[in-house]
Symmetry: D2
Amino acid sequence: MLSGSEPAFLQGNCQVLDVGVVGGTGYTGVELLRLLAVHPDVNLKMVTSRSESGRKVSDLFANLRGFVDIEFTEPDVETLGACDVVFFATPNGTAMTMVEELLQRGARVIDLAADFRIKDIDEWENWYGMKHACADIVAEAVYGLPEMNRDAIKTARVIANPGCYPTAVTLGFLPLIEQGLIEDSHLIADAKSGVSGAGRGASTATLLCETSENFKPYAVDGHRHLPEIKQNLAMACGHQVGLTFVPHLTPMIRGIEATLYAVSKADTPDLQALYAQRYQDEPFVDVLAQASMPETRSVRGSNLCRISVFRPQGGDTIVISSVIDNLVKGAAGQAIQNMNLMFQLDETAGLLQPALMP
Amino acid sequence: MLSGSEPAFLQGNCQVLDVGVVGGTGYTGVELLRLLAVHPDVNLKMVTSRSESGRKVSDLFANLRGFVDIEFTEPDVETLGACDVVFFATPNGTAMTMVEELLQRGARVIDLAADFRIKDIDEWENWYGMKHACADIVAEAVYGLPEMNRDAIKTARVIANPGCYPTAVTLGFLPLIEQGLIEDSHLIADAKSGVSGAGRGASTATLLCETSENFKPYAVDGHRHLPEIKQNLAMACGHQVGLTFVPHLTPMIRGIEATLYAVSKADTPDLQALYAQRYQDEPFVDVLAQASMPETRSVRGSNLCRISVFRPQGGDTIVISSVIDNLVKGAAGQAIQNMNLMFQLDETAGLLQPALMP
Amino acid sequence: MLSGSEPAFLQGNCQVLDVGVVGGTGYTGVELLRLLAVHPDVNLKMVTSRSESGRKVSDLFANLRGFVDIEFTEPDVETLGACDVVFFATPNGTAMTMVEELLQRGARVIDLAADFRIKDIDEWENWYGMKHACADIVAEAVYGLPEMNRDAIKTARVIANPGCYPTAVTLGFLPLIEQGLIEDSHLIADAKSGVSGAGRGASTATLLCETSENFKPYAVDGHRHLPEIKQNLAMACGHQVGLTFVPHLTPMIRGIEATLYAVSKADTPDLQALYAQRYQDEPFVDVLAQASMPETRSVRGSNLCRISVFRPQGGDTIVISSVIDNLVKGAAGQAIQNMNLMFQLDETAGLLQPALMP
Amino acid sequence: MLSGSEPAFLQGNCQVLDVGVVGGTGYTGVELLRLLAVHPDVNLKMVTSRSESGRKVSDLFANLRGFVDIEFTEPDVETLGACDVVFFATPNGTAMTMVEELLQRGARVIDLAADFRIKDIDEWENWYGMKHACADIVAEAVYGLPEMNRDAIKTARVIANPGCYPTAVTLGFLPLIEQGLIEDSHLIADAKSGVSGAGRGASTATLLCETSENFKPYAVDGHRHLPEIKQNLAMACGHQVGLTFVPHLTPMIRGIEATLYAVSKADTPDLQALYAQRYQDEPFVDVLAQASMPETRSVRGSNLCRISVFRPQGGDTIVISSVIDNLVKGAAGQAIQNMNLMFQLDETAGLLQPALMP
């Protein structure tokens, strides 16, 4: 293979962004690197990892051989702060300890973890089991779901990149909730995720032998994404909603499917038209034709959310199915979509690849 | 390997049943043969298949080498009619054309397909798209869910063996429905099945490359198991219920998980105790401890249904998770449980094996 | 989603190739479309399918929604002949019946099936069980393995795109064979393929339930790729070689791994240096560092072949492991690499994406 | 479910063995428990685990609910020593520290780890990286491959239960090696294992997301099972052999397939007859019909080894394919087969179940 000279498209472009990634050894990290490596407007300046410092990134992730030539380094505030944008692909509670120093140095921050997602600090501390380090920045941070907050994202200094389940569920309910068309005291979101959502950490629970040929619900009594989804829906309709959210673990690597149930109010309009119209200008939401079934593989490796809406047997229960790739639209891809918006790039830059199928 | 002499336990038992299997080339068929081959009270007399007639059963299914020594033969009413019991592991619409002749000859019949499941002939013809051949026998047939109909099963001549989804969903809702504890106008059953539920027929849709690493809903507008489930629930509570049933295809071979949602009425009792008590004498329903999560692999290859009941955040939405192996409790195992009951054998005979895990 | 205007990069380029695809409904077909859809120098003019004629390509392959906007059409010699290049992603025996008409009209042809791979017509007819339709074009056709035949490919009118196993095995043995460093009378290639190699046709043998959680050899007595590999190796060393080739079916969608065994002659040099040097200028062959293990996922969706060479316990048996994505370097990607060479495009155009991992 | 009274077949049998299991939390442990739980001659007296002490076994392994009612306890020499037989399903290096105390108390020992497999202590210490604790017992221990050592097993106090790869490879080569029919200086064993062979310990390398949809060789430079296989083959032919052994990781839970290659000497007889005859009295080796392909799923959950032998294109290279379930014939099942032999039970007791397929 040709030795690692930079791809041609990274040269001779005067508006290239300097990008830093903190915590590049997990699945959202390597996915971010996969997408950044071929983004036409990005210069990947630093990828940090305390545990892998000094090792070539492509030694850990063989798919990046020939695409990412740098080593993991210790996090360094000066180098990171000199970047245009810093992504945090770290465990919860990490970004909040570094964000202020980076903002002071002029960098903008996109956190793929949960540090800035929940506006109510008490609720955040309750669900995440730790003290928050910078409540003021939570107030300032913009929730990075472009389909809800595109304008605010453009000028944000700090983006709270949405969780994977909240992305799939919120986009699924949004048109109905915004229009007040459903009884919102007993919403149901039955969601299924591939195993990559559980991360790359060593654990018995996510071994192939524990998760393959197996299907199960988990966290039925309460999952951290519940308050995040409820916050989104409340934002969209102006009041608290009642939601039962049950996640399930599915024997595959990537993908989330959320099946949503709601009872319609009396005078529901043409649902297909409602969804098509709501998302007609969205580059990454694809409303399928009537009676089409979304499938997770149709978005594998892509930043799309595909949605169908049903009214079984013409009854008053509405069913929505929404699929995303949890690592792309549910994490790294959406983070890059946010970066594109923040820096006035084409919103789709670096994100237009068909899903890998089969 | 020792050549195929009969297992010792099949000899010297004076109450051995002569058993025939019509249509032994699909997944419910081979599963039936796997279980019958080591059942202590069974003499497997005939396995029919028009397409594979003359071929050794164990040439088609290598796992049966050394256990099943006979060949597939053309269906023959005389030989089948001389059996004590005949299982139909055939497509829908087959058993109904042969059942009368077999009953006349004194055989009893267990149909693993849908011919005798729906009491309302019009509804059956509507969902299954064909004319029914013997409405009178539908009236006589007993729906073979032992947890609802044990006594009737014991004396039945014809058993309608339940569908896989109906088994998982009915057993999940049963304690609540029988006691009238939930609002039953908007029940929701979000069910997920392994691919073996779709059968062994050649088809692009169930290729590994189409179903692996993929998750999707299907038949959202209406699945044939919907009327069957509704009939069961109506039987249990005495009136029609409202149910939305959404099946999903999961990338694994075996297993069904059904997550059920219902809104409780005001004065719901201790749900854990309710379920434990309802199923305390059932050999094949296992109510898990509070906060335990059922997983499909815990019943792989076994006849058990494992169930948990939840009330997330103490709200009024009740969540039940119910898992079975679709080929065992959802098909072949339940059929054998019915046979055991019909012939006054130990109800668990031939069915007491721990699930294969991992 | 924005309705299907053409991607920006397909406009304003004066050297865009008009491309036709015959037989776009199999896995090599859809993979070709996935790659062509974002190739900067390609205008996809026609995708033919007799069975799906009139249907939108993206209705069959949801991953192409928004990327491929045309319909399947009946094959039409005039339209195809007006293309710069026509790919055949058809069953064996199809391209040979159309190639002459297309060449006459000035199109160049890349056949992803086997019609032009074997120079010895008798041998081809023997292995493929049919009469060849155009022996003269076989003589003219260039075997499209750029690492062996780059210059000839550039001027070829007809490319025989290599089979998947032959690509992995030939690239693995090539440096040793070219240098005459091994005893070549008893070469062994133990190869393992994902299920997509068996195609998208309806069949019981490739159902998820038949292939998942299962591993097996097949065609041990002789596989069609055997004569192709032997022809390649003979070409490289100037004489016939002895080869035992055993393919295996592996429970995954994509990927081939070939483990190759050969006994070295007395004076073998530094194998690592030999391989590194042989492939140093090859954009799509990546020789891994000593003791690194190739894994198929490291090339999933990518056009790379990754190779390692070993000499266990310092003995005289050399072991090579070679991995490719059977649908990319083993089919569609290599076809596009050939197209790039034929039309003086950058050899890597449209093919520089990191593998999807995890 | 009926509360955990003992299965009927465990009562009223005067020759029941008291059995202890040391280290019951790994995959060989739980498989041993699955098989022992329904073994007609076994009373499971103690299952030890330091980490899980005090927890019900069936809380950790839900498939054992209703079958195993005891708790994990700290290992206790007195209780274990009072057992008829003690199985070690522990990491390498554990059994050797306890075996003497148990033998003194009259228990017999079956070690499923490697402590007693290699007769050459230096070689063992070299491959296993630790000092051996009881060389004298290594000398006494019997290698528990019944097909080689049945008589010695019957009277052994200590059984070294074979490794998974050595079982599949040795049974595959045995007939040829015993008869001296092949050149044995360059034998090749290309073996493929499911992920359960790597154990239940938390590790990134065996996560579903690292191993699913992936295939790779590992330990090409030397695997601990290499000296064990070579010792077996040397025992069978009376001299050292040359063997290249390459294991591969396959994306499935259970199963090993070994494809073996050897060059025949001049006057090779009918291979099919040779294999059929060699194994005709073996209850757990099944030689398939000519041209049949062994597949791992045909032995899933079963104690069988299935073997086919080929001579591709009638050449002088012989190819053998041998499949086992690594957790059964490759570990727990073979251990029970050994126990049966040691205590004059029917050799097949508790082991006659058809494989779970699909």
